[in-house]
């Protein structure tokens, strides 16, 4: 296990993040959603800290705490007053190897996870995104998403979960990030003491199911009455986060849709290309573009929520024209400076919060995007006009394109 520490002296807190290299990517059909289900079970007690103990201990200190599962990783964190750092360490080290995952609690939690899934299904954008991800990947497990299908959640067994836990939850498959109001040496030394006694497991091989090239556009339509307005999502296959093109793709997302999302109340990102082409022209209420840092090649996704009465065809055409334009013509110096400033400022905003400084660092390490916050910042700052155009040209091609339409049906 590798441990990383960083000083942040502006508030009397410490944030502890434990990252496990297991997520939707490590699942096979029939067990999709297992890593996420397991994440829930890590809150259900150990022999030393029975169910409810962790919640109450952390609540008692006013902690900010949670967990999440992505395609690549499962992550647990708590931000606590600095004098409670030891408690956070003790809880995380304990549940790394000693979670009970009882049959009774597995059954009780199953309905909670179904409820989580049902809440997501209420959102048309989730429904469309899940389908788009599924058609974009023929072989790679990224096509399965994270939360799993409702049927698979219902069929998940306690023994399967426990085996998944024992296999993936061990110090040699995890790393720790700690940031806070103490010297990095002290933070890391204390974490080392907490995790050192834990036994390693056999190393887990990364999944080997590379996605073969796509040879032409794929399309899908989701028709539901659950949404009132049409949505378009377009996903293009992209290289992984460790690829040299990753900073330019990150830059590209900001050029297209700004650094912060936000609906009508947001005043930033309005100089972006898609906002100008879609929102200022009354074609859409919202436009977004994202390039997520991932371990394996994933998707650059453009999404627009259409104004009522506007057709998908029309908006899709405008989006594709904008993508072709940025692939063809270099951005102007003014635009380049503006986007660069947004990107670098957004990095500072994130890292000025202790919790999110640790999250950002951990996500860079998880995916191999960079070795440190400074390394990533330097890579973003070094992006050139030519690299942005080249990244767009390499990405926005018909062969790599997956187009999804959400079509609201009449009630």
């Amino acid at each position: 296990m590798t441990l990383y520490g960083l000083e942040a002296r502006h508030a009397p807190v410490v944030t502890l993040w434990v990252w496990y290299h297991v997520g939707g990517r490590n699942e096979v059909p029939g067990t999709t959603g297992m890593s996420h289900f397991l994440e829930h079970m890590l809150f259900k007690g150990t022999p030393l800290h029975p169910k409810g103990d962790l919640d109450k201990l952390l609540a008692r200190y006013g902690a900010l705490w949670n967990a999440f599962t992505s395609e690549d990783v499962t992550c647990y964190f708590e931000t606590v007053p600095r004098e409670r750092y030891g408690v956070a360490l003790e809880l995380e080290a304990d549940r790394m190897r000693n979670a009970l995952i009882s049959r009774e609690e597995t059954e009780a939690e199953r309905t909670v996870i179904v409820s989580e899934r049902e809440g997501l299904e209420n959102d048309p954008s989730f429904l469309l995104g899940e389908q788009l991800q599924a058609i974009a990947f023929n072989r790679h497990p990224y096509g399965q998403g994270v939360i799993g299908s409702k049927d698979e959640i219902k069929l998940m067994t306690r023994d399967g979960l426990y085996a998944h836990y024992r296999r993936h939850y061990a110090p040699n498959n995890a790393y720790v990030i700690v940031v806070g109001d103490a010297s990095p040496d002290e933070l890391v030394d204390r974490a080392t003491q907490a995790f050192m006694p834990l036994d390693a497991e056999a190393n887990v091989d990364p999944p080997k199911a590379p996605e073969p090239p796509q040879y032409g556009e794929k399309r899908l339509v989701v028709r539901r009455a659950g949404g009132a307005v049409p949505i378009i999502q377009i996903g293009f296959h992209t290289p992984r986060a460790s690829d040299a093109m990753a900073p330019a793709l990150t830059f590209l997302a900001v050029a297209l849709a700004g650094a912060t999302a936000g609906g009508g109340e947001s005043a930033s990102g309005r100089s972006s290309r898609l906002y100008r082409a879609l929102v200022d022209t009354s074609l859409a209420t919202d436009a977004d573009a994202s390039y997520n840092l991932m371990k394996d090649p994933y998707l650059f996704v453009v999404e627009a929520t259409l104004r009522p009465g506007v057709t998908h065809d029309r908006v899709e055409k405008v989006i594709l024209e904008e993508l072709a334009r940025i692939s063809r013509d270099p951005v102007t110096d003014d635009e380049f400076a503006r986007v660069r400033r947004q990107l670098l400022s957004a990095t500072a905003f994130t890292t000025d919060t202790v919790t999110w400084r640790a999250w950002r660092w951990g996500s860079l390490l998880a995916t191999g995007a960079a070795t440190s916050l400074d390394d990533w910042y330097a890579r973003l700052a070094a992006v050139t006009v030519d690299e942005v155009r080249a990244a767009a040209a390499a990405t926005f091609s018909e062969r790599k394109r997956n187009v999804g339409w959400f079509v609201p049906e009449a009630v």
Binding site: H10, D55, N122, R224, A225, E265, T285, Q342, L344
Partner: protein
């Protein structure tokens, strides 16, 4: 916490909280222009005005203003809440002066041009249409309609009523701006990596020219109480989960019982894991993914609500269980451990929230907006700790009577109605 205040001649309070070691600064400008200050019978005007303020000024058109914000790399948004319209932003510390100039331009000198008002109107109507199939938004609308009579500032959501949005004119919006967007009662908070004197001077330079206005007509708002339990089910087609809101009209932030109300809220349902309702509904029975309650802070009776996302099969049981927990509190069944946990959590959060400039700015803003006093941060933890079991019971009985609640459910048909 290092907090420095100055009130400008026009009445605007500028409050600076330097946080050494940070690169950015969080800015909150709260103007008393939320729903509470909206013209009676015109819900939605405040938000239309706020959104139009972001679309160009008399010195910069919408494109130029947006380009300038993005050139700073700043994030910025303007939200209308129950009490205030809050312009929130973040920039690098060195850019604070330029950011405040842009914000002041939008606040003091918005163009509110016809074309931009039309765009904002169309966007708002599209959002209202989208919300009609959003179970959370539908539940929120239905709940407000159950609790607050027509004409009450909180009867509608801040987005307002579609008829009002359709009929609003640019002239009406300009009139609202002239009335409501004023420095008196407004607070500008600057928290982060800044030199306090330079930050204060930048605030004064940008907003010192904002002209004070004569006193405004006080809106008469009658107090609200629920005489019985009321309930509304709104079927939203093609959904799998129901969104449930159980709630009551709350109490003003300045009410001396508000601190006890915050503790009561935490004991009952504020936190999915640390509070009683969440513990039983999610942890013990597995009926919902999320269960939490919030108590609004405003000059009036903001909503005090419990929200849950529940499968239709489990809706009635989840509601019954949540109300049972409340009944136990009202019956005096508040374990010392539950009370201590709630107090510890609320006090502990005051430290943890200081991890971000936005968190510090939010703490400062509440204290200033509701005149909680310069010693608030020193007093507040003690006040939380001083709340007794009897006060929790009395607060629950007074403000959360289990048999006089308003219940809104939005989602698929419930089993008995299917």
């Amino acid at each position: 916490m290092d907090v420095r205040r100055r009130t400008l001649a026009n009445g605007l309070r500028v409050v600076v909280a330097p946080i050494p070691g940070l690169r950015s600064v969080a800015v909150l400008l709260a103007i008393e222009a939320g729903q509470w200050f909206e013209p009676a019978g015109r819900p939605g005007i405040a938000r239309l005005c706020a959104l139009a303020m972001l679309r160009g000024t008399t010195t910069r058109d919408a494109k130029t203003w947006a380009d300038a914000i993005d050139a700073l790399g700043a994030s910025a948004r303007l939200d209308v809440g129950s009490h205030a319209a809050v312009f929130s932003a973040q920039s690098l510390g060195d850019d604070l002066g330029a950011l405040l100039d842009l914000m002041a331009d939008a606040v003091i000198r918005p163009a509110l041009a016809e074309g931009e008002v039309e765009l904002v109107r169309a966007q708002t109507l599209a959002q209202i249409e989208e919300d009609a199939r959003n179970t959370r938004a539908v539940a929120e609308r239905a709940w407000r309609e159950l609790v607050y009579p027509p004409g009450h500032p909180f009867h509608a959501r801040a987005i307002g009523d579609a008829a009002v949005v359709r009929s609003a004119t640019a002239e009406e919006i300009r009139g609202h701006h002239g009335q409501a967007i004023r420095p008196g009662g407004a607070v500008l908070v600057l928290a982060g990596g800044i030199d306090p004197e330079r930050a204060r001077a930048a605030g004064e330079r940008a907003f010192g020219v904002w002209e004070a206005k004569d006193g405004r007509t006080k809106r008469e708002v009658r107090s609200v109480a629920l005489a019985a339990a009321v309930r509304r089910l709104e079927v939203v087609p093609d959904k799998t989960q129901s969104d449930v809101i159980i709630g009551w009209p709350g109490l003003p932030r300045n009410d001396p019982r508000f601190v006890a109300a915050r503790v009561t809220n935490m004991v009952f349902a504020a936190d999915t894991f640390a509070s009683r309702a969440g513990h039983v509904v999610r942890d013990e029975l597995g009926l919902a993914y999320y269960v939490f309650s919030t108590i609004g802070a405003s000059r009036g009776q903001s909503p005090w609500t419990v929200r849950m996302g529940v499968n239709p099969q489990n809706v009635e049981r989840a509601i019954a269980v949540a109300l049972d927990e409340l009944r136990k509190i009202c019956d005096g069944q508040v374990a010392a451990e539950d009370l201590a946990l709630a107090q510890d959590k609320l006090v502990g959060e005051l430290d943890v929230v200081r991890e971000s400039p936005g968190g510090v700015a939010g703490l400062v803003l509440e204290a200033e907006l509701f005149d909680l006093g310069p010693d608030h941060f020193e007093r507040y933890p003690r006040e939380l700790r001083a709340v007794t079991r009897d006060q929790v019971v009395e607060t629950a009985r007074s403000f959360l009577p289990p048999d006089r609640h308003a219940l809104a459910i939005a989602g698929p048909p419930l089993p008995e109605a299917a």
